[in-house]
């Protein structure tokens, strides 16, 4: 009897741990951010008017609640800078995802078709960049893309660029695309590889046997069977890319609008914590749609596997 109760508690604890984790490290900070977003700027430390301050008793708390201001959200809606930042973020993330897919698919396909003994090595090659700090890798791209950088040098050496010309890629959206695609490519390749590797090679033989030329067989057999990998990869690239800050900040130009950057400016340059908190909350809401869609998809996928 007692052992069963114990194991019951053990199980509950095991289930509780991830929820506790979420509560402490996600929900609580998020609640704080939401709280700040409902406040107003003040010249103080921290730089906003306190809300929900329980130290002054419940009375004050209720007063606060009735006096809550959604001004910050109204402000976001009113200023095209924010809307444009959101839209531009979605656009840049979308284009980058597409590029990552176009580059990642052949990579993953090649890996899945490589001899068995090579595959662990190829897998390592895909994961290897993670061993270096993300920040350092993005910095390295500055050295490559800057006007007098390695890429210019290379282009001049092989003669497609005259010695007096320089490539103007750094500080443009192109550099941001390059940075995002480079940084998030492994997240595209790995799920694609998993999907393609699982595919039975005899399916393509069967298709050819039935009169289907190889290229057509690729489109009617390989691609549909890779769809789970394609969807997973796209979500895994798109979701973090929307909120990306480091890449647009280091590689993007002054006109590169991305919401992560806007948030940073609001927070550190304008010291407007309430507005930047509101931006963060909205960003999360924007991302919740694809995240929930992804979860839903994953669940269906798992059910189908059973």
């Amino acid at each position: 009897m007692s052992t069963r109760r114990k194991s019951g508690w053990g199980r509950r604890l095991v289930i509780a741990v991830p929820y506790l984790w979420l509560l402490v490290f996600f929900l609580a900070p998020f609640a704080i951010v939401v709280r700040i977003s409902l406040s107003e700027v003040a010249i103080a430390m921290p730089p906003y008017l306190p809300v929900f301050d329980l130290s002054q008793g419940f009375e004050a708390f209720w007063q606060d609640l009735s006096a809550l201001s959604f001004d910050n959200y109204a402000w976001l809606a009113g200023d095209p800078l924010y809307i444009n930042s959101y839209l531009s973020s979605l656009w840049i993330a979308g284009v980058s995802t597409l590029l990552a897919l176009l580059i990642g698919f052949p990579l993953a396909y090649g890996m899945a078709r490589a001899p068995h003994s090579w595959r662990p090595i190829l897998m390592m090659a895909v994961i290897l960049p993670f061993w270096t700090s993300f920040l350092i890798r993005v910095y390295a791209w500055i050295g490559i893309l800057k006007p007098e950088g390695l890429l210019t040098l290379f282009a001049q050496t092989i003669g497609i660029l005259s010695p007096d010309d320089q490539l103007r890629i750094l500080n443009t959206n192109t550099a941001v695309y390059i940075g995002i695609v480079y940084s998030y490519l492994p997240f595209m390749v790995l799920p694609l590889y998993a999907a393609l590797e699982r595919m039975d090679a005899s399916l393509l033989e069967a298709a050819q046997d039935l009169g289907c030329p190889p290229l057509k067989a690729f489109w009617s057999i390989t691609v549909p069977l890779a769809v789970p990998g394609i969807i997973a990869g796209c979500f895994l690239v798109f979701i973090p890319a929307v909120g990306e800050f480091v890449i647009p900040d280091l590689l993007g130009g002054s006109d590169t609008l991305m919401i992560g950057r806007t948030l940073w400016n609001e927070f550190f340059n304008n010291r407007d914590w309430p507005v930047s908190s509101a931006v963060a909350v909205l960003l999360l809401l924007v991302l919740i749609v694809p995240i929930v869609a992804f979860q839903h998809f994953q669940q269906r996928q798992q059910e189908a596997m059973r």
Partner: protein, 392 residues
């Protein structure tokens, strides 16, 4: 066995006709994977409208042979001719050959109907024709209620039938069936066998079928090739394979058979005799054109007669005595295991020191009381033409 009764079928033996041109010709084909030889210098002619069966143990190279014909493996040596033309340069999707894969290889993202329609769609046939053909195939394999199911929602036997329907749908000139009926129950398997024979005859297709089921091979095939480790042991019509196996291997592979090792003695003036330490006396055999030497005598169990009394001496008959070791009642037949020794079986160890011969006797009457019981001394006799002398 229906087709052997047809007058057309009886005359069908193009392999005996020196002028007949084969549809498929394997010309000294070898296939090596690394240093492993899967197919070892084989030649084979298959004729138009023939139903040809490959029979052999697992791993002997049956699938490999088919895959070379379908175009998924290239022969290491030799060439394959289709209608007299070398097909090595033709890619698989342009060969007029369809294959049913041993692993089925059904497209998991398509339902049953789409799987069957896949090959037809490649030919850009009108939609209505495709639909009609799919219907026909579905009813042929009795899967109409499952047309909209995905392969993973089907049982193993149903999947196998989808694979069969898919390969049949295009009505190719040559159809390769790699164990097409293995997962079906006996009744459905027999029905499908006859359907296959029917289709093959009606459409004039050429079938190359792999099977592990020798009964199936006997039923459907015009000719059977018995394979062993990448080579052909014997290529012949079922009755020849059964009645005149060319080697111990073939004899042992098809059906049940009694094999006695011994020596053949031939002389000009006397009928050839077979002597064996297992037999009390030499028996006369038919051994035309064979020289004296070590051989095996093979006798099918159903060709033996069993009696309590010694049969009268007859130059056309061979006989041997022993005691009944075991009787297996199989319903239609009983199998008598006779130990070739006059010792009482009771208490004897079961080992190979004394040979045991099996005789199959049809249970023509309802046996309430068996005339022959355990440990009875019995005489086995057979027509000397029933014994086959094997030199290989």
């Amino acid at each position: 066995m229906a087709k052997t009764m047809g007058p057309v079928r009886r005359a069908f033996a193009p392999w005996d006709d020196p002028l007949a041109e084969p549809l498929i010709r394997f010309e000294r084909i070898s296939k090596r994977f690394g240093d492993f030889t899967a197919i070892d210098d084989v030649s084979l002619d298959i004729y138009e409208r023939e139903f040809f069966a490959l029979l052999g143990p697992s791993g002997c190279g049956k699938t490999t042979l088919m895959r070379m014909l379908a175009g998924f493996e290239t022969p290491s040596e030799g060439r394959i001719l289709l209608d007299g033309e070398d097909i090595s340069a033709i890619p698989p999707h342009r060969r007029p050959v369809n294959m049913m894969f041993q692993s089925y290889a059904l497209f998991p993202h398509m339902n049953v109907a789409d799987n069957i329609a896949f090959g037809l769609k490649q030919d850009n046939l009108p939609k209505t024709d495709i639909a009609a053909c799919v219907e026909e195939m579905l009813s042929l394999v009795k899967l109409e209620p499952f047309a909209k199911r995905k392969p993973d929602q089907l049982s193993g036997g149903q999947r196998q039938r989808v694979a069969l329907a898919r390969s049949l749908a295009k009505r190719p000139k040559v159809l390769l069936l790699d164990e097409p009926l293995g997962a079906l129950d006996k009744k459905l398997r027999e029905e499908t066998q006859f359907e296959l024979m029917d289709i093959q005859e009606k459409l004039g297709m050429t079938f190359l079928i792999v099977t592990h089921d020798q009964e199936e091979a006997m039923t459907v095939a015009d000719r059977i090739a018995v394979m062993n480790e990448g080579t052909f042991e014997q290529i012949a019509p079922p009755s020849v394979i059964y009645e005149e196996p060319s080697s111990r291997y073939v004899a042992g592979f098809i059906g049940d058979i009694n094999l006695l090792e011994g020596t053949l003695a031939t002389s000009l003036d006397k009928a050839p005799t077979f002597a064996s330490p297992d037999l009390p006396a030499p028996v006369t055999v038919e051994a035309e054109g064979l020289a004296s030497g070590p051989v095996a005598l093979a006798v099918r169990p159903e060709k033996l007669r069993i009696a309590l009394d010694e049969p009268a001496d007859d130059p056309a008959m061979a006989k041997v005595s022993g005691r009944v070791w075991d009787i297996a009642y199989m319903g239609d037949v009983s199998i008598f295991h006779v130990r070739l020794s006059d010792e009482v079986c009771e208490g004897q160890p079961k080992d190979d020191s004394v040979p045991i011969i099996r005789a199959t006797i049809a249970n023509t009457t309802r046996l309430v009381e068996r005339p022959i019981a355990w440990d009875d001394k019995v005489w086995l006799s057979w027509d000397k033409s029933a014994g086959v002398v094997l030199t290989r």
